[in-house]
Symmetry: C2
Subunit: 199 residues, 2 copies
């Protein structure tokens, strides 16, 4: 199929121009590499288009994304377009915690609650919910609530969700789903991860 | 398998530290989206690590990567690390053409010849050879030459090659191979590509 050609024309009463402006929900899943990396690559396009970018980083230790974080933060505001980066691991940026105890389930739920507020307010035009499949899988965030919230989000807010084992209901709700499959990985041959490649 | 855990320890006489510094050849292939996008995401990490980045964009029309190009060029030199972007479609940056005729096969061969010169000189530490599987597939660039050149590249120069239908010899030579598979795409439902998402 030539790129850009549609296979069917939907009976939705919209013009091509209107369909071009529809918000996209994308999911990058599967056991291979590149799920988050491709989402951050998409964020480059979004930023270039002048869309405020919000990254919500769930679950993983910070060292794995420090390169992307540094680079995307370096773009923040350069062309007038903001990039905002929130991390669960360090406590979300909008909450100040007095205690030292961490409750990951509660933190994930708080992250999702903030995303809901941002979607309702239209804070960003491009959201990366990085590794968000895991809190959904582990029951920390309600799948039906996620699907309903995303279905009802106002305006044109694009959302990319990454992580293995995406819930079937999320797959069903998504417009664009890509599975990354590992064919070969250096660690299989006994090589270690390295800075610049792995994080 | 926990991330960062190796499954075997190779009998190569190298320390873990030495193995961490080995150059990586990665291939992103398959019919799904995210092959190039993940490569540009990797470029963010490389740039953050202070590695000069060279992008060589083969084949595709420019509009598809303009967002990534704008964003990566915005990073050029910001932390002292250069990002250089070469495009086949517009004529490679290092050649000045008088004529208007285009010979894509010759242009691809010229691109590859320049990459060989850069690898020999150690010009970059991170190379994106975007859509480079196609000139290999079409016989414009010799597969055996590519594999031998990459195998013999000096120092620690990381290379990512993207595109569908990666040649089996390239897969064999690569350290890291990821296949992107399309599960669902908005164009299947009659939606059109849109700026910020598709380019």
């Amino acid at each position: 199929m030539p790129q850009g050609k549609v296979t069917t024309v939907p009976d939705d009463g919209l013009t091509t121009r209107q369909r071009r402006r529809q918000a996209v929900l994308a999911v990058h899943t599967g056991p291979g590499k590149g799920k988050s990396t491709a989402a951050f690559g998409m964020a480059l396009r979004a930023w270039s288009a002048g869309w405020p970018v919000g990254v919500f980083q769930f679950v993983k230790s910070q060292k794995w994304k420090v390169g992307e974080e540094t680079a995307l933060k370096a773009l923040d505001g350069v062309n007038g377009t903001p990039v905002t980066w929130h991390k669960m691991g360090e406590g979300w940026s909008w909450i100040q915690r007095a205690g030292t105890e961490r409750d990951h389930a509660a933190e994930a739920a708080e992250g999702w609650a903030q995303i809901k507020r941002d979607l309702a307010a239209g804070t960003y035009k491009f959201y990366v919910l990085d590794e968000f499949t895991y809190p959904m899988k582990w029951g920390w965030v309600d799948v039906a609530d996620v699907v309903a919230t995303l279905a009802g989000r106002p305006g044109t807010q694009h959302v990319v969700i990454t992580g293995r084992d995406a819930h079937p209901d999320l797959i069903e709700a998504a417009d664009l789903v890509t599975e990354m499959t590992k064919i070969k990985h250096p660690m299989d041959a006994g090589r270690k991860g390295q800075q610049g490649i792995e994080w």
